[in-house]
Subunit: 323 residues, 2 copies
């Protein structure tokens, strides 16, 4: 056991999303100690949203481990601007260029605070302890209400200058395709996210079992039972994901694509057609070798990764990160 | 003037393509000294093709500057495998996993030989002395018979593990689109290369001026005169390039996209619609800032960049490269 495992140091972690704000203290082996959760009042004013963050931080500060906290890492729904310390989460209209880093810094007594996009944070966690461990070049992605991601290149996390690199959900794989809420067309997210899987299935005539909500999980259940409409909707999502993964393999030579998030829980219903389509889009020799694997960590990856990204950026030695 | 400018050191440079093999000696300021050119006998046996390379090397070795050559850089049509020292240029069927690095090494008395893809080499040159100079995050691309490219990330060239990173020509921006010779569908190259611009214009009813070959340059001439069919073909190419550039800005946060090659010589006929479409595909705040500029170097970029990439990889100090 690592000598710091029980007594710190710890990195405080915040995972900010459109639905919930999570917090934890993360030790040098990536374990969560204190866990706090608040719903995000996403439709309310910027200060109301900040109040939820401050409540989470307040609970963390009340923990007996708090004096051993050396830094705070934030993974936030994007876009973020790591240089300026601001965030503008698409689904939280009250926050536009919101100065989250200075506000958090003030609330934690001036500890160093490191901000990254949530896709980058999840990637840091999967590279540290999950399915991307041991790979020098990897894409990690979350397929859920949205589609996010992050990149490891040359053994190191690639946050990009503003902390947003790896945004696979908003690359266009269908240049004449449907309008995406981001303003572009034919984005991977517009085709492959959970809500779009459900919408496309419903549009084609699929109906969930009686008493079941028409979610992507319900479409996955039908697909497992062999329903052709449900399978077709997952196949189309898989095709868009495959085109996106192939683009990344062709652009930056990743060895592995790690896929997590609620839609990935569909298992072979997603992964089988994803691998099939990938073999048709990733055709150049150096790209054709890319593997697709399920994520190794669950929803805690956001917290673990926010801490890992901060520890990496600040060079906190107790945290033995790869790269 | 740099003290090494006149007397070396030099890096020998080879630019291997499907049409020609170029060679030169490159000094520490990126100037070409000796220049050699041979046609590539692309349809002949692997040994016939190698003979053209050996002739180029023989002329370089006969130059009075040769004793001051410290290394050889090769930029080759791809895919390449920099780890194994082999190349498999799509348009040179006699070379599949051809051991170009050991063959060149033997011909130059065991000097260190560094292989990269031609898109990576062109990018090294544009970053050293061209339009990407001073940018830490850039895409450089050649739009010509094919569409190639390379990336600078975090101030450094990104060759990727096998030397092929930045292959923008073979990412799919139209997942249900036309089959590409690479085996995928809807690739940027399949829509935006010179031959595809000409083909699409011809298919729509455009005809070149009497006595003029139906090339992309002829389509550009017609477009400048206001021909709507010619303009439409360039607009479609620009749309595909914009979707590709936007994808890269969204994935790795580039600040600038440098566009060179014969099709870029069309000037505003290409660049105006390219910038217009880019504003519609690169929508996220951090990606929307990407600029598009013409390449700063001409066709010599392949040779200069092959030398720059080699000097960078080998840490040759006289070559004061960025990053």
């Amino acid at each position: 056991m690592h000598p710091h495992g029980e007594t710190g140091p710890f990195v405080g972690a915040l995972d900010f999303g459109g639905t919930k704000v999570s917090g934890a203290l993360v030790d040098a082996e990536g374990r969560l100690r204190v866990r706090v959760l608040r719903p995000t009042p996403a439709g309310e004013s910027g200060e109301s949203v900040m109040r939820a963050v401050l409540e989470v931080l307040g609970e963390l500060r009340a923990a007996p481990e708090w004096p051993a906290v050396v830094a705070v890492g934030i993974g936030s729904a994007g876009p973020v601007d790591a240089r300026r310390g601001t965030v503008s989460p698409v689904n939280v209209p009250g926050w536009r260029d919101f100065p989250l880093v200075p506000r958090v810094s003030a609330a934690v007594g001036g500890l160093p605070v490191v901000l990254t996009g949530d896709g980058v944070a999840m990637t840091a966690a999967e590279h540290w302890f999950g399915a991307a461990r041991g790979y020098d070049n990897a894409l990690c992605m979350v397929v859920s209400t949205g589609v996010g991601g992050g990149l490891v290149l040359g053994g190191a996390l690639l946050p990009g200058p503003t902390g947003n690199a790896g945004h696979i959900g908003h690359i266009s794989v269908d240049l004449d395709g449907d309008s995406c809420p981001c303003g572009s067309r034919g984005c991977v997210e517009r085709i492959a996210s959970g809500p779009n899987i459900a919408r496309r299935a419903l549009d084609s005539g699929w109906r969930p079992a009686a008493g079941t909500a028409p979610t992507a999980a319900a479409v996955a259940d039908s697909a497992r039972s062999g329903d052709p409409l449900a399978r077709a909707s997952f196949d189309r999502a898989a095709q868009a994901l495959a085109a996106g993964v192939a683009a990344i393999a062709t652009l930056v030579e990743i060895q592995v694509a790690v896929v997590g998030g609620g839609v990935a829980n569909a298992g072979p219903v997603l992964f089988d057609p994803l691998r099939g389509h990938l073999s048709r889009y990733a055709t150049l020799s150096f790209a054709a070798r890319v593997k697709v694997v399920p994520a190794g960590l669950g929803t805690d990856a956001g917290l673990v990764g926010a801490a890992a990204a901060a520890a990496g950026a600040l060079g906190i030695k107790a945290f033995t990160l790869p790269g």
